[in-house]
């Protein structure tokens, strides 16, 4: 396999695999946030802020994979 097609394959696998973990985590986090807001609506604003902070950390994991994919794209495919 030449480096270019290996890089294209690696990009797809990287982004696909990296989306699994954050997807599960975000689902759990949002479910817990909705649960908390329904139980205690007056704490809704604070729960929303905390949820967005947590989501940002999880999303960062998927973004790292995207970055790796972009690096591979620039290094191997665009040359």
């Amino acid at each position: 396999m030449d480096p270019k097609s290996a890089a294209i394959l690696a990009m797809g696998i990287a982004v696909g695999l990296a989306a699994i973990g954050p997807g599960i985590g975000m689902g759990t986090a949002v479910a817990a946030a909705i649960d908390a807001t329904v139980r205690q609506p007056e704490a809704g604003g604070e729960v929303r802020t905390l949820m967005f902070i947590g989501l940002a950390f999880m999303e960062a994991l998927a973004i790292y994979a995207l970055l790796i994919a972009l690096i591979l794209l620039v290094k191997f495919v665009f040359v």
Partner: protein, 241 residues
């Protein structure tokens, strides 16, 4: 089919430095918008506010909520940094959805300034230096004690946290904004020519992302400053670290 390209910048040699001129220009546009906005809303303030003044007070209260919500009363001191970061990133992200691309550059194109890794790394390093500096100013040499807590062998991990914070701050903002622009390019690439309005829902989503990313950046900066200035004696409750 459109050619999908990114990472190309209009590089100009300026005083021996290579400068990304498109990023510079859009960053200046964002700054000019903010300066004009703040001059316009602080001109003839009234006891009974007009529509513009109510809007600016809402913006100010939102920023105050971010800063004071993370740091308590300490937050009033750091409101300048948090507010500037929030407003600059918000305006920069929103600039990406303005069709500046219609104006053709020699190389690259006008997009959000936060589309360039240099800008986001600069902002993240600014936050890094700021929270280290404010922690040292607040707690003196005792600030460095927190590296050895709760156990001394946690020191490498605690030190690594200082390195990963600017990394994740900058990569998160850059990745989100760049991914948004690439998605719009891809959508334009896969639909037929007469469906040129197909990316509009994604652009609306990008408006939401722009706001969320600016908010996240400001909240994380505030919580880092809060963790640094919390001190060891008083029972300050910081919600996130």
């Amino acid at each position: 089919m459109h050619k999908i390209e990114f990472g190309n910048h209009w590089t100009v040699q300026l005083f021996g430095l290579s400068v990304h001129m498109d990023t510079m220009l859009t960053a200046w546009i964002a700054m000019i918008i903010l300066i004009i906005f703040s001059l316009a809303v602080t001109r003839n303030l009234k006891r009974i506010p007009g529509r513009l003044q109510v809007f600016s007070e809402m913006v100010m209260e939102f920023i105050e909520g971010i800063s004071v919500g993370q740091m308590g009363n300490e937050g009033y001191k750091h409101i300048m940094l948090i507010g500037s970061l929030f407003l600059f990133i918000l305006v920069s992200n929103l600039l990406g959805q303005v069709p500046l691309k219609l104006y053709h550059l020699p190389e690259g194109e006008f997009a959000s300034p936060t589309n360039d890794l240099n800008v986001t790394v600069a902002l993240a390093l600014l936050v890094s230096v700021y929270y280290l500096g404010s922690g040292i100013l607040k707690n003196g040499i005792k600030y460095f004690k927190h590296y050895f807590e709760p156990f001394w062998f946690m020191a490498p991990l605690n030190f690594m946290e200082d390195l990963t914070r600017p990394l994740s701050l900058s990569i998160r903002l850059f990745g989100n904004i760049l991914a948004g622009e690439v998605i719009i390019l891809v959508i334009l690439g896969i639909v037929p020519q007469f469906l040129f309005f197909a990316p509009i829902p994604f652009m609306l989503f990008e408006l939401f992302v722009a706001f969320i990313q600016a908010f996240i950046f400001a909240v994380l900066a505030a919580s880092y400053v809060a963790a640094a200035t919390a001190g060891h004696g008083d029972n300050h409750e910081s919600t996130t670290s």
